[in-house]
């Protein structure tokens, strides 16, 4: 695999559009729909709990093109959150005192107002989380960002699917592992992951068509191996199931594994994981200000329940609490086994 590949969008691939992805998923025969599974757990329709996390996707630009990316992010994407939306997001965060502000992308650092966004959200009292690919912060124009994150006590959530180059580069691109190690090294040097209260959490998505193993077991292994091999430290490992949409769906199709993967997800449905899915306490905001139940629904263009406001400009937590969460077959990706969320396993 080269370092950077063209996105589905750039290639005008069959699965580039949300409509095509939804149609492909709808073709896969399943033993029961996700709605039926929720109903057997007494969870249908799925309702939100308290809104605790405002997750903003600030754009689809990235300096990497990971094989499993559900955003289809890459250097050839140009979508970026405009100023007016950013202001509305920060106003919503402050006005409604949302406790956690989760910044994702793309590589969020590439947003021209990323620094300002971090500073204003943190000064407003929110716990700010930055989803970091570990390599953008090495680029000359962004090398100041780790110090800014440390200054504002931002939690860094960084992707590292394995503690060796072969597996990591197979998923994330040639040379990414070596740069990721340097990225962690710089974060460690600032105190991240080293018991200073600056939290560095790593994310591991399976490098292949299998489901993640025990989060606790893998965390112990990642800690031991990163320490032994590179003298690196971090706080927690989050295991995240690969979501069968976008580039990962194309990968499954190319391998002829889509039906097998979906069947596996359905068979591994865990009611306890379903009760703890992240969409119940999270609101996802698109780069254009449109609202979604999660980042995956955002990429599938599955907007909120039509009964509630659809845009950050006119939404309130009270109105949004009235909604039923929009679900589909891809949601089995969050309820398999120990479950999966932006914070790792949930059950």
């Amino acid at each position: 695999m080269g370092r950077v590949l063209p996105t589905l969008h750039k290639r005008e691939a069959g699965l580039a559009s949300a409509v095509a992805q939804r149609a492909r998923l709808a073709e896969v025969p399943l033993a029961r729909t996700f709605e039926e599974s929720l109903a057997t757990s007494g969870l249908f329709p799925l309702r939100p709990t308290r809104l605790e996390i405002l997750q903003v996707n600030v754009g689809r630009r990235c300096n990497q093109t990971c094989k499993h990316c559900h955003v289809d992010a890459g250097p050839d994407r140009s979508e970026v959150m405009p100023r007016a939306v950013l202001e509305a997001v920060l106003a919503f965060l402050a006005q409604h005192r949302i406790p956690r502000f989760d910044i994702t992308g793309g590589a969020p650092e590439l947003h021209p107002d990323f620094r300002e966004m971090v500073v204003r959200a943190a000064r407003g009292g929110a716990h700010v989380m930055h989803r970091c690919n570990l390599t953008a912060i090495l680029l000359p124009n962004y090398a100041d960002i780790p110090a800014l994150l440390a200054e504002h006590r931002v939690e860094v959530i960084a992707s590292l699917p394995y503690f060796q180059a072969r597996e990591t580069d197979a998923q994330r691109g040639e040379g990414v592992f070596e740069e990721s190690i340097e990225g962690i090294r710089r974060l460690n040097a600032l105190g991240y992951g080293r018991g200073t209260g600056l939290e560095l959490n790593l994310v591991a998505n399976p490098v292949g068509t299998f489901l993640p193993g025990s989060q606790a077991g893998l965390e112990a292994m990642w800690k031991r191996e990163l320490k032994r091999r590179f003298d690196l430290d971090f706080d927690h490992l989050f295991t995240i199931t690969n979501m069968p949409i976008s580039r990962y769906l194309e990968f499954l199709d190319e391998r002829g594994r889509t039906v097998d993967y979906m069947t596996r997800l359905v068979n591994a449905y865990n009611p306890a994981a379903a009760a703890g899915v992240m969409c119940r306490n999270t609101l996802s905001v698109g780069y254009d200000g449109r609202l979604f139940d999660c980042d995956f629904n955002q990429m599938l263009d599955l907007g909120l329940d039509a009964a509630v406001p659809q845009w950050i400009f006119d939404a309130t937590p009270e109105r949004l609490a009235e909604r039923a969460i929009v679900v589909g077959p891809h949601c089995y990706g969050c309820t398999a086994g120990a479950g999966s969320s932006c914070g790792g396993a949930v059950a």
Partner: protein, 119 residues
């Protein structure tokens, strides 16, 4: 059995799609199956050996007994539990070494017979 099922059965003795049917073995002897699957689950629980170590042992034994279902299941299980292809390949070599060694060490018996019956 439909014609297509019968035809599928004749393609080959082993099919990937048969592995998820393992649980159906309970239809013939439910109590024995329950005991087997309970014991199987207990065997693979974290204990003095951790789950990843047990998975690698299972992978090696799968090769020793040459069970395609087990090789499929434990290749994926080992990956999910954090093992990599280097570790998994070494585990298969352990199985192969024991199998090869088991043949070779019986050469001692051959030598005993040669010495007993030869001049």
């Amino acid at each position: 059995m439909t014609e297509s099922t019968a035809a599928a059965g004749r393609e080959a003795y082993y099919h990937e799609r048969d592995l998820p049917k393992f649980g159906e073995i309970a239809e013939g002897a439910p109590e024995l199956a329950r005991k087997f699957f309970d014991w199987y689950t207990a065997v693979f629980a974290e204990g003095a050996l951790d789950a990843r170590e047990k998975s690698l042992i299972a992978l090696a034994v799968a090769h020793a007994v040459q069970c395609p279902y087990c090789i499929d299941a434990y290749s994926q299980d080992a990956l999910a539990k954090g093992s990599n292809i280097d570790q998994m390949t070494e585990a298969v070599h352990v199985a192969a070494a024991i199998r090869g060694g088991a043949s070779l060490v019986h050469g001692v018996q051959m030598r005993n017979h040669v010495h007993a019956h030869g001049m």
